[in-house]
């Protein structure tokens, strides 16, 4: 699964990463846990409620079930222009 990170997380984890998603990782919440295990230094940032997940240019909730073919983007709070 393709994952994109923006802002501070992009600097910490890399702007784009591909992860092998095990069958038990189904939702956005599951995906956060998996990513936190893969990137322990960023685990605090990855668990923040202010970090929003975005699929197909729409913000999705924690229970959104992610298909393996989808790209998930993680947005820290916007800084604005």
């Amino acid at each position: 699964m393709k994952i994109l990170f923006f802002g501070r997380l992009g600097d910490m984890v890399g702007r784009e990463t591909h992860v092998e998603v095990p069958p038990e990782t189904r939702t956005v919440a599951d995906l956060r846990q998996l990513l936190a295990q893969l990137h322990p230094a960023a685990s605090e940032d990855l668990s923040r409620p202010s970090l929003r997940a975005c699929v197909n240019d729409l913000i999705v909730g924690e229970n959104y079930v992610v298909a393996d073919s989808e790209t998930v983007e993680f947005f820290p709070p916007l800084s604005g222009g």
Binding site: R8, D57, F75, L78, S79, G80, G81
Partner: protein, 153 residues
Amino acid sequence: MRHSTCLASDRFDPALELSTFLGQLSDEGGIVSFVGVARPTTRGGSPVERLFLDHHPRLTGRSLEEVAGAAGDRFDVSALRVVHRFGEVAPGEAIVFVAAASAHRRAAFEAADYVMDRLKTDAVFWKREDAVDGSHWIEPTDSDRAERARWSE
């Protein structure tokens, strides 16, 4: 209402933007413009080497369009222009240019003011300030949020 937005990768000349904007007008009497310039120092006073505006390939441009369109719906303006940089911006360079034209100067002032307040909180950017004493990511200030809230119904 005509509006146009531009997400600019390279430095631009705000005076040239104003010149182009003025050249496209017909009978509007008042034009208000705003230029936002990258500051040379952090809030703490350290020299800034560069500003980095991380952006989203689609949502950032869409957020500029949304703000410009909302300003056009809300105020009696006949033309509106928004230019916003992304990527690396050097201190002293323009980050943002907004221009609004109207037969009524009050509407032009309010539209430009509104666009800036909205952009400061709602534009899809993540800003990092690279200063001599380190880099840090910026979030909207309470004052930005308060300005934004002025326009809520």
